[in-house]
Symmetry: C2
Subunit: 204 residues, 2 copies
Protein backbone atom coordinates (compact mmCIF):
# COMPACT_ATOMS: atom_id res chain seq x y z
CA UNK A 1 0.00 0.00 0.00
CA UNK A 2 1.27 3.46 -0.95
CA UNK A 3 1.02 6.36 1.44
CA UNK A 4 2.70 9.74 1.48
CA UNK A 5 4.83 9.37 4.62
CA UNK A 6 8.54 9.85 3.82
CA UNK A 7 10.05 6.40 3.36
CA UNK A 8 13.28 5.64 5.12
CA UNK A 9 16.06 4.78 2.74
CA UNK A 10 16.07 4.93 -1.02
CA UNK A 11 12.75 6.54 -2.02
CA UNK A 12 12.71 10.33 -1.83
CA UNK A 13 9.57 11.82 -0.25
CA UNK A 14 8.95 13.82 -3.44
CA UNK A 15 9.02 10.63 -5.50
CA UNK A 16 6.58 8.92 -3.19
CA UNK A 17 4.23 11.91 -3.19
CA UNK A 18 4.23 11.87 -6.96
CA UNK A 19 3.60 8.14 -7.05
CA UNK A 20 0.64 8.50 -4.70
CA UNK A 21 -0.74 11.31 -6.84
CA UNK A 22 -0.32 9.30 -10.04
CA UNK A 23 -1.91 6.19 -8.51
CA UNK A 24 -4.89 8.14 -7.14
CA UNK A 25 -5.53 10.01 -10.39
CA UNK A 26 -5.23 6.84 -12.46
CA UNK A 27 -7.65 5.10 -10.09
CA UNK A 28 -10.06 8.03 -10.35
CA UNK A 29 -9.98 7.86 -14.15
CA UNK A 30 -10.54 4.10 -14.06
CA UNK A 31 -13.47 4.49 -11.64
CA UNK A 32 -15.03 7.18 -13.83
CA UNK A 33 -14.63 4.98 -16.87
CA UNK A 34 -16.15 1.94 -15.18
CA UNK A 35 -18.88 3.48 -13.01
CA UNK A 36 -19.29 7.19 -13.78
CA UNK A 37 -19.10 10.19 -11.51
CA UNK A 38 -22.19 9.56 -9.35
CA UNK A 39 -20.58 6.34 -8.10
CA UNK A 40 -17.19 7.97 -7.41
CA UNK A 41 -16.26 7.74 -3.74
CA UNK A 42 -13.03 8.41 -1.89
CA UNK A 43 -13.15 4.86 -0.51
CA UNK A 44 -13.30 3.23 -3.94
CA UNK A 45 -10.52 5.44 -5.28
CA UNK A 46 -8.28 4.73 -2.26
CA UNK A 47 -8.85 1.01 -2.58
CA UNK A 48 -8.27 0.94 -6.33
CA UNK A 49 -5.10 3.04 -5.95
CA UNK A 50 -3.77 1.01 -3.03
CA UNK A 51 -3.44 4.20 -0.99
CA UNK A 52 -4.57 4.89 2.58
CA UNK A 53 -8.08 6.34 2.69
CA UNK A 54 -6.90 9.03 5.11
CA UNK A 55 -4.30 10.17 2.55
CA UNK A 56 -6.92 10.54 -0.18
CA UNK A 57 -9.23 12.50 2.12
CA UNK A 58 -6.43 14.72 3.39
CA UNK A 59 -5.10 15.69 -0.04
CA UNK A 60 -8.27 15.79 -2.14
CA UNK A 61 -11.03 16.15 0.47
CA UNK A 62 -13.91 14.95 -1.74
CA UNK A 63 -14.65 13.81 -5.32
CA UNK A 64 -14.68 17.44 -6.48
CA UNK A 65 -11.05 17.68 -5.39
CA UNK A 66 -10.20 14.65 -7.53
CA UNK A 67 -11.99 16.06 -10.59
CA UNK A 68 -10.35 19.46 -10.13
CA UNK A 69 -6.90 17.87 -10.11
CA UNK A 70 -7.68 15.76 -13.18
CA UNK A 71 -8.69 18.99 -14.90
CA UNK A 72 -5.09 20.18 -14.53
CA UNK A 73 -4.02 17.40 -16.86
CA UNK A 74 -6.34 18.56 -19.64
CA UNK A 75 -4.71 21.79 -20.71
CA UNK A 76 -1.89 20.86 -23.01
CA UNK A 77 -3.22 17.86 -24.84
CA UNK A 78 -6.90 17.10 -24.91
CA UNK A 79 -8.30 19.71 -27.31
CA UNK A 80 -5.76 20.54 -30.01
CA UNK A 81 -5.35 24.16 -31.13
CA UNK A 82 -4.61 25.19 -34.69
CA UNK A 83 -3.01 28.34 -36.06
CA UNK A 84 -3.00 27.66 -39.80
CA UNK A 85 -3.37 31.18 -41.15
CA UNK A 86 -7.10 30.74 -41.80
CA UNK A 87 -9.55 31.49 -39.00
CA UNK A 88 -12.15 29.24 -40.63
CA UNK A 89 -9.82 26.25 -40.55
CA UNK A 90 -8.60 27.03 -37.03
CA UNK A 91 -12.04 27.37 -35.48
CA UNK A 92 -13.53 24.41 -37.32
CA UNK A 93 -10.62 22.34 -36.02
CA UNK A 94 -11.14 23.64 -32.49
CA UNK A 95 -14.86 22.85 -32.61
CA UNK A 96 -14.14 19.33 -33.84
CA UNK A 97 -11.62 18.94 -31.01
CA UNK A 98 -14.22 19.99 -28.44
CA UNK A 99 -16.68 17.52 -29.93
CA UNK A 100 -14.12 14.70 -29.74
CA UNK A 101 -13.16 15.68 -26.20
CA UNK A 102 -16.76 15.32 -25.01
CA UNK A 103 -17.13 12.05 -26.88
CA UNK A 104 -14.68 10.56 -24.37
CA UNK A 105 -16.79 9.39 -21.42
CA UNK A 106 -14.01 10.05 -18.90
CA UNK A 107 -13.37 13.65 -19.94
CA UNK A 108 -17.10 14.14 -20.18
CA UNK A 109 -17.52 12.86 -16.61
CA UNK A 110 -14.75 15.09 -15.32
CA UNK A 111 -16.03 18.28 -16.93
CA UNK A 112 -19.76 17.71 -16.48
CA UNK A 113 -19.19 16.52 -12.91
CA UNK A 114 -17.32 19.73 -12.10
CA UNK A 115 -19.93 21.86 -13.89
CA UNK A 116 -22.75 20.21 -11.92
CA UNK A 117 -20.85 20.63 -8.66
CA UNK A 118 -19.88 24.21 -9.57
CA UNK A 119 -23.48 25.39 -9.39
CA UNK A 120 -23.33 24.96 -5.62
CA UNK A 121 -19.66 24.39 -4.72
CA UNK A 122 -17.31 27.41 -4.90
CA UNK A 123 -14.25 25.17 -5.14
CA UNK A 124 -15.56 23.47 -8.28
CA UNK A 125 -16.67 26.84 -9.68
CA UNK A 126 -13.20 28.27 -9.05
CA UNK A 127 -11.47 25.32 -10.72
CA UNK A 128 -13.66 25.78 -13.80
CA UNK A 129 -13.20 29.54 -13.89
CA UNK A 130 -9.41 29.23 -13.67
CA UNK A 131 -9.25 26.42 -16.20
CA UNK A 132 -11.39 28.16 -18.80
CA UNK A 133 -9.71 31.53 -18.25
CA UNK A 134 -6.33 30.03 -19.17
CA UNK A 135 -7.73 27.69 -21.81
CA UNK A 136 -9.82 30.36 -23.58
CA UNK A 137 -6.98 32.90 -23.49
CA UNK A 138 -4.76 30.31 -25.10
CA UNK A 139 -7.33 29.29 -27.73
CA UNK A 140 -7.91 32.98 -28.53
CA UNK A 141 -4.39 33.22 -29.95
CA UNK A 142 -5.48 32.14 -33.43
CA UNK A 143 -8.31 34.71 -33.32
CA UNK A 144 -5.78 37.40 -32.46
CA UNK A 145 -3.72 36.38 -35.45
CA UNK A 146 -6.81 36.51 -37.68
CA UNK A 147 -7.42 40.08 -36.47
CA UNK A 148 -3.80 40.95 -37.29
CA UNK A 149 -4.23 39.45 -40.76
CA UNK A 150 -7.40 41.51 -41.28
CA UNK A 151 -9.69 38.47 -41.45
CA UNK A 152 -11.76 39.82 -38.54
CA UNK A 153 -12.60 43.40 -37.47
CA UNK A 154 -9.86 45.24 -35.58
CA UNK A 155 -11.98 45.63 -32.43
CA UNK A 156 -12.79 41.89 -32.13
CA UNK A 157 -12.70 40.48 -28.60
CA UNK A 158 -10.74 37.25 -29.25
CA UNK A 159 -11.83 35.47 -26.06
CA UNK A 160 -15.48 36.21 -26.78
CA UNK A 161 -15.19 34.47 -30.14
CA UNK A 162 -13.90 31.41 -28.27
CA UNK A 163 -16.77 31.66 -25.77
CA UNK A 164 -19.25 31.81 -28.65
CA UNK A 165 -17.67 28.74 -30.23
CA UNK A 166 -17.88 26.70 -27.03
CA UNK A 167 -21.30 27.74 -25.78
CA UNK A 168 -23.48 25.55 -28.06
CA UNK A 169 -21.82 22.35 -26.81
CA UNK A 170 -22.67 23.10 -23.18
CA UNK A 171 -26.17 24.27 -24.05
CA UNK A 172 -26.92 20.90 -25.59
CA UNK A 173 -25.18 18.78 -22.98
CA UNK A 174 -26.51 20.62 -19.94
CA UNK A 175 -29.69 22.49 -20.84
CA UNK A 176 -31.59 20.82 -23.67
CA UNK A 177 -29.96 17.38 -23.30
CA UNK A 178 -29.63 17.00 -27.05
CA UNK A 179 -26.81 14.89 -28.49
CA UNK A 180 -23.57 16.28 -29.87
CA UNK A 181 -22.38 15.35 -33.32
CA UNK A 182 -20.00 16.66 -35.97
CA UNK A 183 -22.70 18.84 -37.50
CA UNK A 184 -23.17 20.61 -34.15
CA UNK A 185 -19.44 21.31 -34.06
CA UNK A 186 -19.44 22.50 -37.66
CA UNK A 187 -22.32 24.86 -37.00
CA UNK A 188 -20.83 26.18 -33.75
CA UNK A 189 -17.69 27.16 -35.64
CA UNK A 190 -19.56 28.63 -38.61
CA UNK A 191 -21.82 30.71 -36.36
CA UNK A 192 -18.92 32.04 -34.26
CA UNK A 193 -16.96 32.97 -37.40
CA UNK A 194 -19.97 34.64 -39.05
CA UNK A 195 -20.79 36.66 -35.93
CA UNK A 196 -17.15 37.68 -35.52
CA UNK A 197 -16.88 38.75 -39.17
CA UNK A 198 -20.08 40.78 -38.73
CA UNK A 199 -18.44 42.59 -35.81
CA UNK A 200 -20.74 41.39 -33.02
CA UNK A 201 -17.87 40.11 -30.86
CA UNK A 202 -16.29 43.54 -30.51
CA UNK A 203 -14.48 44.63 -27.35
CA UNK A 204 -16.93 46.36 -25.04
Amino acid sequence: MLDDRPAPGTVRPRGRTERVRAAVLAATRAELEAHGYPALTMERVAEAAGVAKSTVYRRWRDPVGLLAELLDDVTPTAVPLLDTGSIDVDLRGLAMGIYRFYSDPVWRSILLGLIAAGVHDPRAAGALRDFFRVRNEHAAESVRHAVERGELPADTDPVDVIRALGAPFYYRMLVTHEPLDEAVAERAAAAAIAAAKAGTHSIR
Copy 2:
Protein backbone atom coordinates in the same frame (compact mmCIF):
# COMPACT_ATOMS: atom_id res chain seq x y z
CA MET B 1 -52.09 20.85 8.80
CA LEU B 2 -52.93 20.15 5.16
CA ASP B 3 -52.67 16.73 3.68
CA ASP B 4 -54.05 15.22 0.52
CA ARG B 5 -56.43 12.62 1.98
CA PRO B 6 -59.98 13.23 0.79
CA ALA B 7 -61.70 15.27 3.48
CA PRO B 8 -65.14 14.14 4.63
CA GLY B 9 -67.77 16.79 4.06
CA THR B 10 -67.39 20.10 2.30
CA VAL B 11 -63.88 20.15 0.76
CA ARG B 12 -63.58 18.30 -2.54
CA PRO B 13 -60.49 16.09 -2.83
CA ARG B 14 -59.45 18.02 -5.97
CA GLY B 15 -59.60 21.29 -4.08
CA ARG B 16 -57.52 19.95 -1.24
CA THR B 17 -54.99 18.44 -3.64
CA GLU B 18 -54.63 21.79 -5.32
CA ARG B 19 -54.26 23.57 -1.99
CA VAL B 20 -51.53 21.17 -0.91
CA ARG B 21 -49.76 21.66 -4.23
CA ALA B 22 -49.97 25.44 -3.98
CA ALA B 23 -48.76 25.45 -0.36
CA VAL B 24 -45.81 23.15 -1.12
CA LEU B 25 -44.71 25.09 -4.21
CA ALA B 26 -45.01 28.43 -2.39
CA ALA B 27 -42.98 27.02 0.51
CA THR B 28 -40.36 25.71 -1.94
CA ARG B 29 -40.03 29.14 -3.56
CA ALA B 30 -39.74 30.81 -0.15
CA GLU B 31 -37.08 28.32 0.95
CA LEU B 32 -35.11 28.87 -2.26
CA GLU B 33 -35.33 32.62 -1.77
CA ALA B 34 -34.21 32.46 1.85
CA HIS B 35 -31.62 29.66 1.81
CA GLY B 36 -30.89 28.58 -1.78
CA TYR B 37 -31.11 25.17 -3.40
CA PRO B 38 -28.31 23.37 -1.53
CA ALA B 39 -30.28 23.87 1.73
CA LEU B 40 -33.59 22.71 0.25
CA THR B 41 -34.90 19.62 2.05
CA MET B 42 -38.25 17.88 1.95
CA GLU B 43 -38.52 18.33 5.72
CA ARG B 44 -38.13 22.13 5.61
CA VAL B 45 -40.60 22.43 2.74
CA ALA B 46 -43.18 20.23 4.50
CA GLU B 47 -42.84 22.22 7.70
CA ALA B 48 -43.03 25.60 5.97
CA ALA B 49 -46.06 24.47 3.95
CA GLY B 50 -47.81 22.94 6.95
CA VAL B 51 -48.14 19.67 5.04
CA ALA B 52 -47.36 16.13 6.19
CA LYS B 53 -43.80 15.14 5.34
CA SER B 54 -45.03 11.82 3.95
CA THR B 55 -47.26 13.70 1.50
CA VAL B 56 -44.36 15.77 0.20
CA TYR B 57 -42.18 12.69 -0.21
CA ARG B 58 -44.94 10.70 -1.89
CA ARG B 59 -45.83 13.34 -4.46
CA TRP B 60 -42.46 14.96 -5.18
CA ARG B 61 -39.97 12.30 -4.00
CA ASP B 62 -36.97 14.66 -3.63
CA PRO B 63 -35.94 18.29 -4.20
CA VAL B 64 -35.55 17.60 -7.93
CA GLY B 65 -39.27 16.76 -8.04
CA LEU B 66 -40.08 20.12 -6.46
CA LEU B 67 -37.87 22.04 -8.90
CA ALA B 68 -39.34 20.15 -11.86
CA GLU B 69 -42.85 21.08 -10.81
CA LEU B 70 -41.90 24.72 -10.30
CA LEU B 71 -40.50 24.67 -13.83
CA ASP B 72 -44.02 24.01 -15.09
CA ASP B 73 -45.03 27.44 -13.84
CA VAL B 74 -42.34 29.18 -15.91
CA THR B 75 -43.63 28.66 -19.42
CA PRO B 76 -46.26 31.30 -20.00
CA THR B 77 -44.94 34.29 -18.07
CA ALA B 78 -41.34 34.49 -17.00
CA VAL B 79 -39.50 35.30 -20.24
CA PRO B 80 -41.68 37.45 -22.50
CA LEU B 81 -41.72 36.75 -26.25
CA LEU B 82 -42.00 39.46 -28.87
CA ASP B 83 -43.24 39.27 -32.45
CA THR B 84 -42.88 42.88 -33.58
CA GLY B 85 -42.15 42.38 -37.26
CA SER B 86 -38.40 42.93 -36.76
CA ILE B 87 -36.21 39.95 -35.87
CA ASP B 88 -33.61 42.29 -34.37
CA VAL B 89 -36.14 43.77 -31.94
CA ASP B 90 -37.67 40.38 -31.14
CA LEU B 91 -34.40 38.63 -30.35
CA ARG B 92 -32.92 41.55 -28.42
CA GLY B 93 -36.09 41.57 -26.33
CA LEU B 94 -35.87 37.82 -25.79
CA ALA B 95 -32.22 38.06 -24.74
CA MET B 96 -33.03 40.84 -22.29
CA GLY B 97 -35.86 38.70 -20.90
CA ILE B 98 -33.49 35.76 -20.37
CA TYR B 99 -31.05 38.07 -18.60
CA ARG B 100 -33.80 39.41 -16.31
CA PHE B 101 -35.06 35.89 -15.65
CA TYR B 102 -31.64 34.78 -14.39
CA SER B 103 -31.28 37.95 -12.33
CA ASP B 104 -34.09 36.60 -10.13
CA PRO B 105 -32.39 34.41 -7.51
CA VAL B 106 -35.37 32.05 -7.23
CA TRP B 107 -35.67 31.32 -10.95
CA ARG B 108 -31.90 31.05 -11.08
CA SER B 109 -31.96 28.49 -8.25
CA ILE B 110 -34.71 26.50 -9.93
CA LEU B 111 -33.05 26.33 -13.34
CA LEU B 112 -29.44 25.95 -12.24
CA GLY B 113 -30.47 23.41 -9.59
CA LEU B 114 -32.18 21.32 -12.26
CA ILE B 115 -29.27 21.72 -14.67
CA ALA B 116 -26.79 20.58 -12.00
CA ALA B 117 -29.00 17.63 -11.07
CA GLY B 118 -29.63 16.84 -14.74
CA VAL B 119 -26.00 15.89 -15.32
CA HIS B 120 -26.58 12.77 -13.22
CA ASP B 121 -30.36 12.48 -12.69
CA PRO B 122 -32.45 11.37 -15.69
CA ARG B 123 -35.62 12.82 -14.14
CA ALA B 124 -34.09 16.31 -13.97
CA ALA B 125 -32.63 15.90 -17.46
CA GLY B 126 -36.05 14.88 -18.79
CA ALA B 127 -37.77 17.86 -17.17
CA LEU B 128 -35.24 20.21 -18.76
CA ARG B 129 -35.44 18.55 -22.17
CA ASP B 130 -39.23 18.74 -22.20
CA PHE B 131 -39.31 22.30 -20.92
CA PHE B 132 -36.78 23.64 -23.43
CA ARG B 133 -38.28 21.68 -26.31
CA VAL B 134 -41.62 23.41 -25.79
CA ARG B 135 -40.13 26.75 -24.81
CA ASN B 136 -37.68 26.91 -27.73
CA GLU B 137 -40.34 25.82 -30.24
CA HIS B 138 -42.55 28.60 -28.94
CA ALA B 139 -39.78 31.22 -28.99
CA ALA B 140 -38.88 30.16 -32.54
CA GLU B 141 -42.20 31.53 -33.79
CA SER B 142 -40.81 35.02 -34.33
CA VAL B 143 -37.84 33.53 -36.21
CA ARG B 144 -40.28 31.65 -38.47
CA HIS B 145 -42.07 34.93 -39.19
CA ALA B 146 -38.75 36.60 -39.98
CA VAL B 147 -38.04 33.84 -42.50
CA GLU B 148 -41.49 34.37 -44.05
CA ARG B 149 -40.78 38.11 -44.29
CA GLY B 150 -37.44 37.39 -45.97
CA GLU B 151 -35.36 38.83 -43.13
CA LEU B 152 -33.54 35.50 -42.75
CA PRO B 153 -32.56 32.83 -45.32
CA ALA B 154 -35.37 30.47 -46.37
CA ASP B 155 -33.59 27.37 -45.03
CA THR B 156 -33.06 28.82 -41.52
CA ASP B 157 -33.62 26.37 -38.64
CA PRO B 158 -35.71 28.60 -36.32
CA VAL B 159 -35.09 26.55 -33.17
CA ASP B 160 -31.35 26.60 -33.75
CA VAL B 161 -31.38 30.40 -33.81
CA ILE B 162 -33.06 30.28 -30.39
CA ARG B 163 -30.47 27.78 -29.14
CA ALA B 164 -27.69 30.09 -30.33
CA LEU B 165 -29.29 33.02 -28.53
CA GLY B 166 -29.57 31.15 -25.22
CA ALA B 167 -26.24 29.34 -25.19
CA PRO B 168 -23.98 32.22 -24.07
CA PHE B 169 -25.97 32.72 -20.86
CA TYR B 170 -25.47 29.13 -19.76
CA TYR B 171 -21.84 29.12 -20.81
CA ARG B 172 -21.14 32.01 -18.46
CA MET B 173 -23.29 30.81 -15.57
CA LEU B 174 -22.16 27.20 -15.66
CA VAL B 175 -18.81 26.90 -17.37
CA THR B 176 -16.71 30.04 -17.01
CA HIS B 177 -18.59 31.45 -13.98
CA GLU B 178 -18.53 34.94 -15.41
CA PRO B 179 -21.32 37.39 -14.52
CA LEU B 180 -24.30 38.17 -16.74
CA ASP B 181 -25.16 41.73 -17.65
CA GLU B 182 -27.15 43.57 -20.29
CA ALA B 183 -24.15 43.74 -22.62
CA VAL B 184 -23.94 39.92 -22.57
CA ALA B 185 -27.61 39.75 -23.56
CA GLU B 186 -27.15 42.36 -26.28
CA ARG B 187 -24.20 40.50 -27.73
CA ALA B 188 -25.94 37.11 -27.55
CA ALA B 189 -28.79 38.52 -29.62
CA ALA B 190 -26.52 40.32 -32.09
CA ALA B 191 -24.38 37.21 -32.64
CA ALA B 192 -27.40 34.92 -33.15
CA ILE B 193 -28.93 37.37 -35.63
CA ALA B 194 -25.66 37.87 -37.54
CA ALA B 195 -25.07 34.11 -37.79
CA ALA B 196 -28.67 33.49 -38.88
CA LYS B 197 -28.45 36.22 -41.54
CA ALA B 198 -25.19 34.67 -42.78
CA GLY B 199 -27.01 31.36 -43.21
CA THR B 200 -25.11 29.33 -40.61
CA HIS B 201 -28.29 28.21 -38.80
CA SER B 202 -29.65 26.39 -41.83
CA ILE B 203 -31.72 23.21 -41.55
CA ARG B 204 -29.43 20.19 -41.78
